[in-house]
Assembly symmetry: C2
Homo-oligomer: 347 residues x 2
DNA sequence: CTGAAAGCGCTTACAG
DNA sequence: CTGAAAGCGCTTACAG
């Protein structure tokens, strides 16, 4: 299909308008996209004629051409390693998208979802077959748990504006992000536990230590008091076996902070297997939101993440970045909430 | 922001590759987008050199430039009068989007959501401020209950390929659609009612008669037998008042086919007000899916719509249309399902 | 089988 | 305040 195919009427172009208004195309351009430091200024009379001509001709600027010539597209790319429209509606990532849509609406941006890139090796990649589909957008928001440091680095290198949801650090590049402030939130949890009489706390979490895990761990450790015993154990949920529970019970630990719901749930199951209950025998706080089923989280004492709000702020941050490319990367630490739940008990 | 801004590294371009491979840009172009009836053919050797150069330089075609020059963008626009990411997850339109995403993935298309156009007068328009944002996509899928015949006509006129979900007819233009086959489905309902002993049936529905209402009415009326009394009443749900119920009860009608859930629910409420129950006193069949809450529909005898599948087929149809613009518009009548429920009783 | 050139519809220095 | 011209990175007839 070509734009100039047989069925396609020739589109009304800038020069048609210019001709009708008796000005040059540069003037029309100036009228449709007025900019502050514009080199070209248009007289009132001329502008009026141009607007009349546009109206009469039904002129609509060609976004593609504007793009190529270096104009703004007003398109924000959304790249996600997750399904954009998750079939299970309780998906963890969905609220971010909701916020992104709202942010886009507010700021008059269209959203380009990179749905095409799934084909390659069953996993989404930003540079499928070496092509960078992102180029068509002014910038992009990256979403999802996957870490593709190489892709991020490459995006940094070509100077493409992007914002990740969740903290991401790339060697030799600055990336902007809007991230849950796990550090403060976990620190807050430690303080609360202490206030409730707990003195021996343990953080359990994934073996792979990414930025978010670092943040939690940091918030955990830096809030140690003299009277507190803090320990960290990196362990997969499947590794929470009876022998491990034995150790835990012997250790005198009274509250476990679980980095993921999978850990919390595994722990609960193993405790139940020997007739122990949360929080009667041991307290548990979840340091995350459930990945798939919101309802699953209900009864747990936990940290909550304002995901919609974060989506919106990601859009705002990205737009700021697009407008002023030279600026220092804006990083936003999103304050989190604390939900009391029923799994943390004073002792 | 300009593509050539200070922070932005100059992008690797087709002529860089061409220079390195010792060929012209036309050859590179032919290599990256091979087409059947291509005027230009490339030798094996040359192709090898080109590919090597692309690899070495990290070349990625600029989609925007390809676009302008008349190439394919592989971007499908999605225009919806509804929220793209509905906050209430049980939204009627959501499953269509799910299907569209899947279709896009399967066929390697990106999805452009026209989220920007909401700003104008609080309602989305395809041509906000006269601008046609759609131009950046190869074609578009239109979704949502709103009828903007002017917009549709205009899209037809400029020869922009699009497919609507739901039948839409435009005077002086052909539009492609993927639509629920209400006609057959309602005919089927009539047959079932008759088989269950009903002889006097009434269709109630919205006052505004759109394509979908026509389809239902047609399916209803054309399935009349000699022994059947069929009547149609166009009435707003709020107009279902006690006096109307009186008439209904006197009429001898034993089953009501409701075009919308709002009608079915209003009817039920008014019947309940005088101690009557569905289906004990009168049977009701819903000829639609609930708009907001899937669960609400559960107990009703009703028609079901395979929405995900329709979304996927809309993508396929659109792609076919983009590939062969000259072809007759493809219209797909989607077969619907029948859900027995509890509100239709044999007599 | 391949190259030189025009053109897609804009924007933006550069001159008046 | 405005015009003429170059250029964005491609694709596609048109010539060899």
């Amino acid at each position: 299909l070509t734009l100039t195919g047989p069925k396609r009427a020739r589109r009304v172009t800038q020069s048609d308008v210019a001709a009708m208004a008796g000005v040059s195309t540069a003037v029309v351009s100036a009228v449709i996209s007025p900019k502050p430091g514009k080199t070209i200024r248009v007289g009132e009379e001329a502008e009026k004629r141009v607007r009349a001509a546009m109206e009469a001709l039904g002129y609509a600027p060609d976004v593609v051409a504007q793009s190529l010539a270096g104009g703004r597209r007003n398109i924000i790319g959304v790249f996600t390693y997750e399904a954009v429209f998750p079939a299970d509606r309780k998906n963890f990532f969905y609220p971010f998208l909701l916020g992104i849509e709202r942010g886009a609406m507010r700021s008059g941006q269209d959203l380009l979802l990179f749905t095409s890139s799934t084909l390659e090796k069953g996993r989404r990649s930003i540079f499928p077959k070496g092509t960078n589909r992102m180029g068509i957008a002014d910038g992009a928001i990256l979403l999802g748990a996957a870490q593709d440091k190489d892709d991020l680095k490459r995006l940094c290198d070509i100077g493409f504006p992007f914002v990740t949801i969740g903290r991401r650090e790339v060697e030799g590049g600055h990336v902007s992000w809007v991230a849950p402030d796990y550090r403060s939130a976990v620190g807050d949890v430690v303080t609360r536990c202490r206030a409730m009489g707990h003195r021996a706390l343990m953080l359990i979490g994934e073996r792979e230590v990414r930025e978010q895990n670092e943040d939690r761990e940091r918030g955990f450790l830096e809030n140690g008091h003299d009277d507190l015993t803090l320990s960290v154990e990196r362990i997969a949920p499947e590794e929470i076996i009876p022998a491990w529970i034995d150790e835990l019970l012997k250790s005198g630990i009274t509250v476990v902070l679980a980095e993921t719901f999978a850990h919390a749930v595994a722990l609960e199951r193993q405790l139940a297997a020997r007739g122990l209950k949360i929080p009667d025998n041991i307290s548990v706080v979840a340091l995350a939101a459930p990945l798939f089923d919101e309802a699953e989280g209900e009864r747990w004492t936990r940290i909550s993440i304002p995901r919609e709000e974060m989506g919106e702020r990601a859009v705002e941050t990205l737009i700021a970045k697009i407008r002023e490319p030279g600026k220092v990367p804006e990083n936003i630490m999103q304050p989190l909430g604390y939900v009391p739940g029923e799994t943390l008990k004073a002792i």
